[in-house]
């Protein structure tokens, strides 16, 4: 009886998130401490489960120092889940992930209609394990301009030996009154050869209104291909390699990789290789990676003759006793602009009470050391960085990271410290000093501190409260 009644209980969960931020910063000129507008942000999330396999979610938010402090729709979906399929109508959500493991033909940012949060609205249907078939259908209508995108993918697993899939994608990339579509057809194949050895290949062809018309363009210049052999395992060696050939006019507006506005990697042909050696009976890994290709583009200029780019990377990673580990790598890139060499050292120690990390990197070795010989770099520089976590009590944590850079007669620095208080349920309180943004991408490897020699410690105090309910 009880269970019968439970079926009629309609579960609704109502959650939310609150954030308050106050900060003051010492300004350069005139010198005074400026208290910025306190920021208060609130978000409500509502999840409904009208059936065992249906879900409705929507959230709305308000930000105090934005326009009107009004509540706005944040994101939402209505979804039906089955054992082997799911159907969702969604608005303003990141639901554009589609598998393209070698060519990376789909990037969510190029489909969601905005870099700073999705604005598209659409429908997505996925199915899997249906007589060996799997697939995805996706349509999205952009809301900030008159564009849209469609993706269809159908594949089949033939046991564990072979996987085949076909994908068709279409995007109105211009958003004019009349649609202007970039269309991609692609085929993916994955073959299990022996133990850990797989052969994979992904090939695609593109149709884009900006491609030159007529017979001047050959079909292979509109195609892209990657063939990969993955993990040949031999006496502690793991070897993988791939060959790729991207046509000069292979444009894919749905990706970053082949998008003229982003990474524009079309017009390349080359080889990528990777060897990983696990030293027997020692916690030592040795990794070597290489990438060599010829490219027809000195972007955006299409060259008459291609030039070659090579990239080599070697790394040794060692773990010692008592939580201490070390990493060393050397990296070299040779391209039209120069010969770029970097070395990196890291040592790290960790125990339940604290964790410390020390990094040192020398970047662009030999560049501009004896006078200005390269315009594309500031020259050789070294950056020393450290990062530290200390658990003062079980609810109080101290964290800091900082970096010092010097080179070419310049010195620069960055520092950030934080006291985190997690005393109260569902809440976090942070007291912070400094600017975290310069070193937030792996400390000394962050371009903000490794490539920008005018980085300075910012006198900034911030109190940040986060509360979940």
């Amino acid at each position: 009886m009880l269970f019968a009644m439970l079926l009629f209980l309609f579960p609704v969960s109502f959650n939310g998130y609150l954030e308050s931020e106050f900060y003051t910063e010492k300004e350069q000129n005139p010198v005074y401490w400026n208290l910025y507008n306190p920021k208060n942000y609130i978000e409500f999330k509502i999840t409904l489960h009208p059936t065992n396999y249906g879900q409705v979610f929507f959230s709305f938010n308000a930000l105090s120092n934005s326009n009107n402090s009004q509540f706005f729709f944040n994101q939402g979906h209505i979804q039906v889940n089955g054992a082997h399929h799911s159907l969702a109508l969604f608005a303003r959500e990141d639901r554009y992930w589609v598998q393209s493991p070698l060519l990376y033909l789909v990037n969510q940012d190029r489909l969601k209609d905005d870099n700073f949060g999705p604005k598209g609205e659409g429908i997505r249907w996925d199915f899997w394990d249906t007589y060996g078939f799997f697939g995805t259908m996706l349509s999205s209508k952009y809301k900030s301009w008159n564009g849209e995108a469609y993706i269809g993918r159908l594949g089949r697993n033939f046991g564990k030996t072979l996987t085949l899939s076909y994908m068709y994608m279409k995007k109105d990339w211009r958003g004019g009154k009349e649609p202007s579509y970039n269309k991609i057809n692609s085929l993916y194949l994955r073959l299990h050869i022996f133990r850990t050895l797989y052969l994979s290949s992904e090939m695609a062809t593109s149709i884009h209104p900006n491609q030159p018309a007529g017979d001047t363009v050959k079909q292979h210049e509109k195609d892209a291909l990657t063939i990969e052999l993955r993990r040949i395992y031999f006496k502690g060696f793991n070897i993988s390699g791939s060959y790729y050939n991207y046509g000069k006019y292979f444009i894919d507006e749905m990706s970053n990789k082949f998008n003229p506005g982003f990474d524009h990697e079309f017009g390349r042909e080359g080889f990528y290789g990777e060897i990983l050696y696990l030293v027997p009976y020692k916690a030592i890994n040795i990794l070597y990676k290489t990438n060599r290709y010829k490219t027809w583009y000195d972007y955006p200029v299409l060259l008459a003759k291609p030039f070659t780019v090579s990239w080599n990377y070697a790394e040794i990673y060692t773990e010692f006793r008592k939580g201490v580990s070390a990493k060393i790598f050397a990296e070299r890139t040779v391209d039209k602009k120069g010969d770029w060499r970097h070395v990196f050292f890291q040592i790290q120690g960790e125990n339940p009470r604290m964790k410390v990390k020390l990094q040192y990197k020398i970047k662009d070795i030999g560049i501009n050391v004896h006078g200005k010989d390269n315009d594309f770099s500031i020259g050789q520089r070294s950056i020393l960085g450290t990062e530290m976590w200390i658990n003062l009590t079980n609810w109080l944590q101290f964290y800091m990271r900082g970096a010092l850079g010097n080179g070419q007669g310049l010195n620069w620095n960055s520092f950030f410290a934080q006291l985190a208080i997690r005393k109260f349920t569902n809440s976090e309180l942070f007291i912070e000093y400094g600017d975290p943004s310069a070193t937030d991408a792996d400390l000394v490897n962050d371009p903000d501190v490794s490539d920008f020699p005018y980085q300075r410690i910012r006198d900034r105090f911030k109190i940040l409260l986060k509360y979940w309910f």
Binding site: L2, M5, F10, T51, L87, K141
Partner: protein
Amino acid sequence: MLVKALVFLLVSLPQGTKDGVEFTYFAPDANSVYLVGDFNNWNTSKTPMKKNAEGLWSVVIPLAPGKYQYKFFVDGKYVEDPTNPITEGPYRNSVIKVAQDFRVLPPRMSNNTPMNSYVTFGAKAKGFVNADKDSTNHYRLMNTETDVRMNVKVNIKDEANLLAILHYNTQQGQDPSTHQIPFYFERARLNFEKGHLHILSFYNMFAYESPDPITLVGKVNEFSYPLGRGEQGILWEIQPKVSHITFLYSNEISTGRDLAFLRLSKDFANFYAGLGLYISHGNNVEYQVVSPDSERINDTTLLHFNTYDDRYAYSIEFGDKNSVRFQFLEGLDKKRANFYDVDGTKSQQSPINKSWNIGKWYKFKAIYGNEKLAAFLDLEHHKFDSIFVPLYGKGFSNLKTGISIKRRHFEAGLSEHFLFAHKNSTKWDALFKMFDIQRLPYIEYPLLGYDRYTTLYAKGNVDILSLLKMRLSMQTARYAINQPPRSDECILQLTLPIKRLFLDYDLRYFHIKSSYLNTDRDFFDHYIQISYRFSQYMIAKAGYGFYPYNLLDEYTERREYLSSKGVNLTQLENNFRGIAGTIEQGEKDISNTKEIRLWLELSF
């Protein structure tokens, strides 16, 4: 261990026995368990429970019928009943209801927020994906839309409750510059009822419709809803014994019009008497609309008019409570609708209206009125439906002369309606009028804008087997004598029937629905829809064709919809007077519309 697990399965909600209600709690390792609740004033030592060999604690206590909160007091700690999902209050006390003979009623959840029993959330969520042919004749995603209306109900004790509705729509609400979609506060209501007193405070939500025969406030027509929609205000009702006192103050949100209404009525042995007072003061509102006969002069002719709306009236009503009522009304209507043509000529309307309805087997209603004076007589036969065609427009003064005869046969689901209305006054009021919209889903539009017309129609439902339901709605004949505004010319119009055919197949979870609209020529408007009901809360639908909006609810959307399909807006406005005209124009544009429509709907 196995025995313990089996015992745990036997643990259930409190159950009725012949000696009382039995409470059980499974805790083999506990040293002491007491039952506490409002039946023993939460005394932690009064009702000890006994443990059996398997570790199941139980006690039987006699309880009178009613609702009780309880908990278990286990080794000095309060524990809620793990078998009972229903809790109340900030301490999450378990709740049971006990009926006669110690029967325990199954638990019912009165709200869906376990943290707080006074708050209930509800929502109506819809997601649409439409694909339609574009100018290159290819299917393309058109107007995707997500629409959510969320309501929050708060029960403040038993007497008062609060309801608030929030709304967003990704299709309509988006800010063109920031692309943000605001969450609107759409409607709210605070209701208080205790004894003879009822207080209702409302914001953009239905509040009141006066029961007096002329319906001094709260009339329905196409663009004005029952009083409360688009308004904010407060209503007081006091009903000591057989008297009834109503006071209403309301402010129209968009125009700022203020309205005050007072009605006193008293029931005597066989009759009742009432007094009414109505005062309203409205802001001057300017309108700009397309002239109804502009197509014959100039397609873009706009007609401007402004109105102001000061009214005052008092009324006396008396009559038999059920069948015969009479109302006398005297008032002053300062409403002026000043019309301006493009050349600036001004014309003013002064309405004088008369209206008679006769019925025997049928409903009988008579109305007589002019600008200052109105009388209403209402005779009803109890066997028949009491829906009265609103012969008059917004406000008490725009009355018409007319006869309305209506017969409805409930068993067969058939109804016939004969209507004759004469109006020689404000044309514009007639233009924006709906006639018995529930009965006439489509063909009211031919009537709009006509001053004199007669229409006959029939409508039938046929059930073939239990699966297939067929509905046929047909206008059998119509003629209209049209006297357009600002013209002495009359047109006699006779059109052939417009037929609408619905076919429904009900297959338990699946429902197939199709509709066809037949005009003078071919079936032009057809639509097929398959819906699947996942549960009582959730439905998925897929449709193909020209989606027919429900005119009753979504008239304005229909206009936008037709316009989105390429029908010229001016043409649409001109064709308010007749869907035949709309069809003629629309047919060209819509004949290619083969929309694929997919949506999910949820409400609870």
